[in-house]
Amino acid sequence: MADPVDVLIIGAGASGAAVAWSLADTRMRILCLEQGGWMKPSEYPSTGRDWEARQFGDFHISPNVRKLPADYPINDDNSPIKIVNFNAVGGSTILYAGHFPRVHPSDFRVRSLDGVADDWPIDYATLEPFFAENDRMMGVSGLAGDPAYPAKSSPMPPLPLGKSGARLGAAMNRLGWHWWPSDSTLATQDYEGRARCINLAHCLYGCAQGAKASTDITYWPEALRAGVELRTHCRVREITLNEHGMAKGVVYYDENGVEQFQAAEVVIVAANGVGTPRLLLNSVSGKFPNGLANSSGQVGRNLMLHPYAQTYGYVDEPLDGNHGPPLCLWSHEFYETDPSRDFVRGYIFQMSRGVGALTEAITSSAAGRLPWGADHHRVYRNLLNHRIGMAAICEDLPEAHNRVTLDPVLKDGNGIPAPRIDYTLSENSRRMLAHGRARALDILREAGATNCDGELPIAYAGWHLLGTARMGDDPDNSVVNSWGRSHDVRNLFIVDGSLFVTSGGVNPTSTIQALALYVADSMKQRLATLFD
């Protein structure tokens, strides 16, 4: 049995890295167990001629297709939105696009303002210093002065507009609608040892330049230098309890598949909105027959995925194609609730440039735009680099029946029960998706695009995994308290997207990491009384 540690973190992704770094200055003995390994940027797809092809193989965003040894299968047959992730040091930030909006102040007060879902037990002001700290650690590029947010600033200037951004921006101006350069974790300048973005544009499949802030190259090097230990290829099966009902440690399988036990004073779960409930539900005991920390029955429930309405069209001149970071602008015009609409809450648009030569060919063939035969070449030349588009990221409200449970049959490579997803789109989401599609068509028309198409909702877009171990003041309907500590097990903490009470209508990682830093800070403030 290994020596006990003070703090054991499960998962080395966006939130695990942030919490490890923040706690490092306590000089406690901190260990992180991660089921994946370190990535080698020199082997990322953008370094080879098969760069686009690999998104259909070893860099597929779905673990069910990718099937790498670090992956676990997910039964998402009963969901119109499929779960996507990455399992490695850096977690899903290896694949994320680095689009980095914060949630809005109103997102913490959904029940009070709009009479739906629940309020958070914290507010925007609580997270504000942690948003700023995280922006500095991740290295955010952006532009101050956005009327969609309370004042904030970014350490680097924004991504270039390019031809696509300028065309979309001009269209938005004619419509009188809000747009702004997106906050992004793609470094526009050399930053803290990271090279600036050179527009490889294949951001979603690992950044070979190191310009995209995945946590393997931001938080982790600093956390390791500060003394945190990171053990890779270690998959945690369950968290065990001692006779006092406190977490005793974890059982995990090491690199060789050998079962190990690691004792810890404090356990922090950072395995994401699907991995975390899976682990808690797999951790059964006499005291918690329905899963650890689950006396409320809320573990795994309220899964929120952000349905995406994707819409794109083609203009009559070549624009940036995929020769720049895909996401460059956002619009918050339709973010806040408007009683004149037939849905509550709202969405942002993330606006996108074009796609690569192969992706254009494949998606256009699948959509029936690109024919077989002699006309293929003429049609294709009017599509490639002529595409612009956007996606509405729709706020998903928490619903108890949208949930993560354990699949009775499916298991991972270590024989651990795999998660099963049951998820349906609500009527509110459907209406919001339809609104997002209609407004996107207005924008594209105004930008001179024709031949518009898209996906509603995007199927392989379960990238925002939220709400499955939510925070709250009431132990009867929440899993952790207002600073991330389990109501049931006083030395168990959760720091990932599972904590979200509501989802907001923005990409969540900025908020996930701000929450992780906030939980770490709350722990540090209370070290002497942590378990009281």
């Binding site: 098969d50 507009l161 938005m172 973005c197 070979a208």
Partner: protein
């Protein structure tokens, strides 16, 4: 290494030419071009079972490569949206749209994105002026 047998390869080559024929007008080879076709065969990998199944469906009434043009067109069209043929089509596209000659004909440099990257113009930031002038649009809470 497991791969397609010669008759499957002959059928696939015909199918590839139907999907993307050579074009004198655009100065590009077809997907049945020997170099592109060799890439397709080399890249079967995970897609081999689907490729086999798609080709088996096409060859049910005899070798697809030997069918008269009209019959071949009709048969391929009837199977075009089956999952296995979609996989095979994707494989053909992914080898075609990385061939140097094809990429040059599209004005694309035949290279991976890294390390050279690309250049994106800054654009005219004064476009933002009307948005800057707006009052806050977030709801205080």
């Amino acid at each position: 290494m497991d791969t397609l047998n010669p008759s499957e390869q002959r059928d696939l080559q015909r199918l590839a030419a139907m999907m993307i024929p050579a074009s004198a007008e655009y100065g590009v080879p077809g997907a049945d071009d020997p170099a592109i076709f060799a890439d397709i065969i080399r890249s079967l990998g995970r897609d081999l079972p689907s490729a086999r199944a798609a080709l088996a469906a096409l060859a049910e009434g005899g070798p697809f490569a030997d069918l008269a043009a009209e019959k071949a067109e009709a048969l391929a069209a009837s199977l075009r949206t089956t999952p296995d043929l979609l996989v095979l089509h994707r494989l053909v596209l992914l080898c075609y749209y990385r061939d140097d000659r094809v990429m040059r004909s599209l004005g694309q440099e035949p290279r991976p994105p890294f390390p050279k990257g690309h250049v994106v113009e800054q654009g005219d930031w004064s476009l933002l002026d009307p948005v800057r002038a707006r009052p806050p649009i977030w709801r205080p809470a």
